[in-house]
């Protein structure tokens, strides 16, 4: 497929699915501030990479049941936010860990009530990844009644890599003792090479809804096929998981 539209997207903040009242994203920015280092031997400006940064600027419609209770609290702790561009398994995602800046309403003359919110990166940038919980009846939200594995995904453009990965997990709802959400990998979708956990690509044993960014070792080998496997004792869990495979050395 070539050009795609922005229809059928999803947006998650911490343990909340805000898709139903989110109007759109004005900015999903992953930037890098280059440092200018001109030298007398060259006529062109030289630059070296500086700090990475990230920002998510999101517009929403006022909704007292979905958006308002979540975003109006303006916590001083970090938010974990993930924007899913499609609902397919392996669909592109972008995630950020940062501070929520503002929750600003605009009441238009036409009577509409819209709100603007930003999340600015805290020590990290916005990262592009892919969904490992997409393709189900609820888009990127996996629904499980007991521990098990989801369908594997192969990003065919990339073979096995040796720079680790990051995992973003939003546990939206949970009933039970605990759930651990991990990424398992295989060379061939388990046909000859059984899936095994990617060391470090796992949450702790989660007992309440929330969100987390997990990182493996920066030199961890990550095979072609990836899937989510949950362990623990629970009767109901809904969650979103997206991975970011590092094709080169991890920056942050």
């Amino acid at each position: 497929m070539a050009i795609a539209s922005g229809l059928a997207e999803q947006f998650f903040v911490d343990a909340n699915d805000l898709s139903a009242a989110t109007a759109g994203a004005r900015r999903l920015s992953s930037s890098m501030s280059p440092l200018q280092t001109p030298v007398i031997s060259e006529r062109g400006m030289r630059r070296i990479p500086g700090l990475r940064d990230g920002a998510m600027d999101v517009d929403s419609w006022f909704d007292d049941s979905v958006i308002h209770p979540v975003l109006s609290t303006l916590p001083t702790t970090d938010r974990v936010a993930t924007w899913c561009l499609t609902t397919a398994l392996g669909g592109p995602t972008t995630s950020i860990v940062g501070k929520q800046i503002g929750y600003d309403p605009t009441r238009g003359q036409d009577g509409s009530l819209a709100l603007a919110t930003s999340v600015l990166g805290n020590g990290s940038a916005l990262e592009w990844g892919r969904s490992l919980t997409g393709g189900g009846a609820f888009g990127n939200i996996a629904v499980q009644g007991s521990a098990g594995s989801l369908t594997g995904y192969n990003d065919e453009a990339i073979a096995a890599t040796n720079f680790g990965l990051q995992l973003y997990v939003h546990l939206l709802s949970f009933t039970g003792t605990s759930i651990t959400i991990a990424v398992h990998d295989s060379n061939d979708n388990g046909a000859g090479d059984a899936y095994a956990i990617v060391p470090g690509a796992t949450t702790a044993a989660l007992t309440t809804p929330g969100a987390v960014r997990v990182t493996t070792s920066a030199t961890e080998n990550v095979k072609e096929w990836l899937r989510i496997t949950t362990t623990g004792t629970f009767s109901a869990a809904t969650f979103v998981a997206a991975y970011v495979r590092n094709a080169t050395a991890r920056w942050f």
Partner: protein, 161 residues
């Protein structure tokens, strides 16, 4: 994709027709405008309305907006009269919901058709609107709703200076 063969156009029409067809709401689901006046119950007909180039194309090829019309018509004599519009309204929304639930018309890929999306919100023209009206067909009067189904096809017209 480049161009649209007759087989691809037929496949696209059939895929568009399959959405209302599988709802099980209609007496008939036709792949063309009916020539003869349909009988009782709701008749659904699917036919092409327009093919238009769109601005949001690439720099190498022009994408197209193919508009189908899905017309639902029910005889004006259907009783009770006050139920005609609610029944048609519900059926129209069910059809629109069917298209919203499959925006990329995934079976089209097998026919070599690159569907960007069904343009339900009108990013490249009229949205998936469904105006109501009356229709005179062979002297018989019908209450009808005409659902526009706009489909954006990627890079159909290869550009050469």
């Amino acid at each position: 994709m480049s161009g649209l063969t007759v087989e691809q156009a037929r496949a696209l029409r059939d895929i568009v027709k399959s959405v209302p067809n599988r709802l099980g709401l209609f007496r008939n689901t036709l792949g063309a405008e009916p020539k003869n006046a349909p009988g009782m119950g709701i008749t659904c007909s699917v036919f092409c309305h327009a093919v238009t180039p769109i601005l949001r194309s690439s720099i190498a090829a022009t994408s197209l907006r193919v508009e189908f019309h899905v017309r639902l018509q029910i005889p004006w004599s259907t009783a009770p009269e006050e139920d005609i519009d609610p029944v048609l309204m519900s059926a129209a929304v069910a059809v629109m919901g069917g298209y919203a639930a499959g925006l990329r018309l995934s079976p089209a890929e097998a026919a070599g058709i690159d569907v960007r999306t069904i343009d339900i919100r009108g990013m490249e023209g009229v949205s998936m609107a469904a105006p109501f009206g009356t229709l005179d067909h062979d002297g018989k009067k019908y209450r009808a709703v005409l659902i526009t189904v706009p489909i954006l096809l990627n890079n159909v017209l290869t550009e050469v200076p």
